[in-house]
Symmetry: C2
Subunit: 304 residues, 2 copies
Amino acid sequence: MHDLIIIGGGPAGLTAGIYAVRYGLDTLVIEKNVVPGQIATADRVENYPGFPSISGMELMNKFKEHAEKTGVIVHSSDVRSVKDGGDKKVIVTDNGDLEALAVIIATGANPRRLGVPGEDTFLTKGVSYCATCDGPFYAGQNVIVVGGGESAVTDALILSDIAENVYVVHRRDELRACSILQKRAFDKENITFVWDTVVQEIKGGEFVEKAILKNTKTDEITEMEIDGIFIYVGITPNTSIADVEKQGAGFIVTDEKMESSVSGIFAAGDCRRTSMWQVVTAVSDGAVAAISAHEYITSVKFEN
Amino acid sequence: MHDLIIIGGGPAGLTAGIYAVRYGLDTLVIEKNVVPGQIATADRVENYPGFPSISGMELMNKFKEHAEKTGVIVHSSDVRSVKDGGDKKVIVTDNGDLEALAVIIATGANPRRLGVPGEDTFLTKGVSYCATCDGPFYAGQNVIVVGGGESAVTDALILSDIAENVYVVHRRDELRACSILQKRAFDKENITFVWDTVVQEIKGGEFVEKAILKNTKTDEITEMEIDGIFIYVGITPNTSIADVEKQGAGFIVTDEKMESSVSGIFAAGDCRRTSMWQVVTAVSDGAVAAISAHEYITSVKFEN
């Protein structure tokens, strides 16, 4: 039986691993992908302090090197479920069962794709799912924001301070975002709303050049010349493996110490209910979860 | 008037600056020291993901370079006080008054020193104030923990999983730490309590070699051969400049968004009430504070 099993080898999981090994815990990280972490798909990361400009892949490799040097062991498996047996947690994988005193879930989340031609082709070349991450690359340019919820409008506001023009393309004729956000967005001169409209295709050469739009009421097709498309049609956390309290699309609810509703099961990073999906918050979550897990494991060992 | 003034140019303050500038906010960072950040005094940092082993000074320089490249402006001044004027905050410095819509306080904290000969000489050479940071450098060695509060006992437990022997030197004959922590520490075979005793002097060559101890009841002087001394006699946050809700030794109370009890005044990093004083949590706090400040500033501008 291990002291601690960490599910997910992205920024949150590896940081938890680094902290746990340094605390002397017998720790195992389980990751199914060769290159883990949503961040690995980012073309440029310019907001992880210490690296002014680095590709997501390079940053992820630096995290992996760091974890390896610290002695973190990463096991390649696909986790099917986590079972709570009180002082013992059972992790069911496609390679058999594993046991640990405590578990940290750091399985991340994925933005929902629009599913239109060109979306995958132009990922990191004009297609983005995060204005906080990629907005600054579009200074003085024209961008589309797809969606009408809180994230879409929040990021449209962020982009309006950076880009020349922001076009919010929404399939309905009203927003789901709260009224304060709506009012602010309507008040911004360089934000234009394109109602009852969906993006049908994304076109370009090396980078995005235009979006093909379709009016859902009239079926009219139009083209819009554009430098970037920011897509906000939902985020799905990878949390179906664990039976703990969740919110919204399945984000794990934790306390300040990153503990879930089940004692000894912790969560860190994008799979956790939080207002941000950033590398800095993920690594912080990972460290806090490891320290809390250490405290929990010490108390379980003491009681037995 | 600036959009945002950030007080303190350590990891939390500079990260807040990087995020704020990327959000298009007119931002100013104020720092009084040439080399800011408590972390700059660390000999080795091995738990900031991406840098397996780096000196605290080098890491701080990397943060400064990153901030500079992002366009963060750092102003050298000593801040005397922050005055809340509702939609306008006034920052009183030794170089005159500055104004901003919002303020982030990232002024850090300092561990209280014992004030004995050898303590400063051997800082980073056997004297430490943080087991989470420096504990792993003492694998298989013998260390003293000075203090009897929560931090002392928590870190003695951390060290007991790494070091050969841990001696908790406490000036009283009982601990202030909670009873659960006490029980766990008493249960550990390699933790020894040295009651009614103070460290009078720290001696060594290049590194710490021994501690001179004095029994407070009998005045008896003894020597103990030792590799490291971890000191926990309190932490003082640098928060006297602001009239906001504080706790304990003066740590600023914030909500999840890093907002203090005063609207538009945020706090990030070690000066904030938190259970950890780590670089990863400081940079995360800084990012969250900047995003919250952007939201606040957008709403203030919208209302006026």
